[in-house]
Amino acid sequence: MKAETKDRLLLQGGSVVDPLKGSVRRADVLVVGGRIEKVEASIAAGAGTEVLDCRGKHIAPGLVDMHCHLREPGREDEETIASGTAAALAGGFTRVCPMPNTEPAIDTEAQVRFEVRRAAEAGFARLHPIGCCTKGRQGKELAEIGSMVDAGAVAFSDDGSPIDDAQVMRRVLEYCKAFDVPVISHCEVKELVEGVANEGRVSTKLGLKSGPDVAESAQAARDVLLAEFTRARLHIAHVSAKSTVDVIRWAKARSVQVTAETCPHYFVLTEDALTDFDTNCKVNPPLRAEADRRAVIAGLADGTIDAIATDHAPHLKGEKEAEFDAAPPGIIGFETAFSLGYEQLVLGRALPLADYIARLAVAPRRILNLPPAAVAPASEAELVVLDLKAEWKYAADNVRSLSRNSPFLGRVMHGRVSAALLGEKLFRF
């Protein structure tokens, strides 16, 4: 994937989506030296200005994936920072925030710097690391959170594992207040979980070991109460259950500083996808019931769930080609997230286009204290061009991630990202 360098670029003939204002309007965008110079109804291409034909397309701020797994360091056979950020950019994500459950885990300043440097060398999506809350993700001692913030970490999480000890969680929340960074909670009461299928109709039928939705929502309830008590910022990761949406809605009504994200697979698929024991549908938290799927969509529609993240979790074919119990949980998501959400939420009339883009571009920036998603003069160009009329097939041969573990392979998608502009660098897909 090669970038073209453009000193003067006119994005002409498209519609600009401004998720901050909630508007979509016809406008041209002139980018000079990597910064937006003008956004006007009609701009004439002057001498030396290259034109990107955006007729019939939409121009939006770059998307931000606040929850993904790039596997470097440790599992570079599954994904690297270079391959992952390239795949992310092709999915419209100009910034990504990898979770720290690598091997070793990201729990020091040096490791945070390593990740940032690797992404800069690759030159694709920008990277903002998420550091561990606790040393080695062991849930016992606080990691050096302040030093990691200085090195570029934007949030803290022991993702992949819950912080079982309530006192440790309290201290993490309190300590992070000093640096104004959110704590991202992987909510899972492990004692309630015997397997990775949702406890319900399908797990009963398939005889799969399972865990109930309350395993997620019970810990979410604990954590929002701790966030209220400590007056700290809490973010609930990968919301999958109706009861969790209810907990977050209740907490927001009490003005607790809580935000939340969900992932496309939780509003597109249900536990019924497991019927053939397809390990590409094995995720954690597990795919849940139709009522949960609908509640997640309702939570996105009313703002209870602030953001959409991918939880991009690459695994090799050989790892997923196993009996259901033995296969690792997780699916890739960078290159399908935008289309799945567009189909389900926008074409499904749950969210207007600008609000959908806000869940992908505005909310993650706000939660992580990143520069706002502006398509306005003087801002750095960080834009994506969306072809909402495109119909395309998600095929294994075209996947940019090193892994192929997706239940959506072979699916015909609607809407896609056709280009991304990062400063002077234009990427076409």
Binding site: E194, G200, G207, L208, F277, A322, E323
Partner: protein
């Protein structure tokens, strides 16, 4: 009549007529077993492998005998002495065994869906001999065979399955099989052992044995699977026996025509008192005998044997 699938992965994939085809075929083989020389050349030259990843006495021996009674070679695989102990994956193990030339793989595995997974990657036919808590189709078929032998037909019969429904593959396969054969099925156990939405199998749920025991034709007791229970599902064995065990006292109260089945191995003194062993309508040992005939029928139908059943 042949089966629609070339594998037997569960009762789920069978319709009523296929179940009856297997049971009718089994009746032929049951007669073979009573002959002085109980062997037919129906699958001469064929080979199957018993790929058992869990301990088993009845099922593995039964499949092995079924194969030998059909003149079919049978190789036994033991997890403990195999390359699995060196970290070989299930798929590699199966592919290597298949490469040596086997017609069928009989698999027992602790993971639900393992036979389904295997069936997508091998050319041999696959028989599910128990996959985790999912299905145990040949157990259901032999139970149905045994009940038909005793009761004639299952249509309209009231069958109660008692015990650890949540962790039992036998319960799932029996629920599917008995209802497909027209029986009214109910389940009974402590709420900790009843999985969610089990009513979708078309069964009633009871939590107190004494409230339903006298209203049924068949009591299908299940083994308490201590090895699969990861958290406490009942306080003590004593209390389990008191509320869910087929005790001598309950046995005395049973209507005389009621029959009792159990897939074995029995935890005597837990789910059933020793007295049940002497109960004339307990079918535990006939179930085991019939299992060989049913498995002969399954191997015969899947291996494509036709018209070769002769002494």
């Amino acid at each position: 009549m042949k089966l629609r699938s070339r594998h037997l992965l569960g009762i789920e994939g069978l319709d009523r007529s296929e179940i009856l085809t297997i049971l009718d075929q089994a009746r032929t083989f049951r007669e073979v077993l009573d002959r002085p020389i109980p062997i037919v050349p129906a699958l001469r030259g064929r080979t199957v492998v018993n790929l058992f990843f869990e301990a088993s006495t009845r099922t593995s021996t039964s499949f092995g005998l079924a194969a030998s009674r059909l003149s079919c070679g049978c190789v036994n695989f033991s997890k403990a002495t195999s390359a699995v102990s060196k970290g070989e994956t299930l798929l590699d193990t199966a592919r290597n065994i298949e490469a040596m030339g086997v017609d069928g793989i009989i698999i027992r595995h602790q993971s639900p869906g393992a036979p389904h997974f295997l069936s997508r990657h091998v050319k041999a036919f696959v028989v599910n001999a128990g996959d985790g808590a999912h299905e145990h189709p040949t157990q259901a078929l032999l139970d149905a065979f045994t009940l038909r032998e005793k009761l004639g037909s299952l249509d309209g019969k009231r069958i109660l399955i008692v015990g650890d429904i949540a962790h039992s593959r036998v319960a799932r396969s029996n629920l599917l099989c008995f209802t497909k054969l027209g029986a009214e099925v109910a389940v009974c156990g402590p709420p900790t052992m009843i999985p969610p939405d089990v009513e979708e199998y078309g069964c009633e749920v009871f939590y107190r044995l004494d409230r339903i025991l006298n209203e049924v034709d068949v009591v299908n007791m299940l083994r308490v699977q201590q090895e699969r229970i990861t958290s406490s599902s009942f306080p003590t064995v004593r209390e389990y026996r008191a509320f869910y065990g087929l005790t001598a006292e309950r046995l005395r109260k049973l209507a005389p025509e009621v029959v009792v089945t159990h897939p074995g191995p029995v935890n005597w003194g837990v789910e059933m008192d020793f007295d049940v062993a002497d109960f004339s309508r307990a079918l535990v040992l006939p179930q085991v005998t019939n299992g060989v005939a049913v498995r002969m029928a399954v191997l015969f139908l899947l291996a494509g044997g036709e018209g070769e059943v002769r002494s």
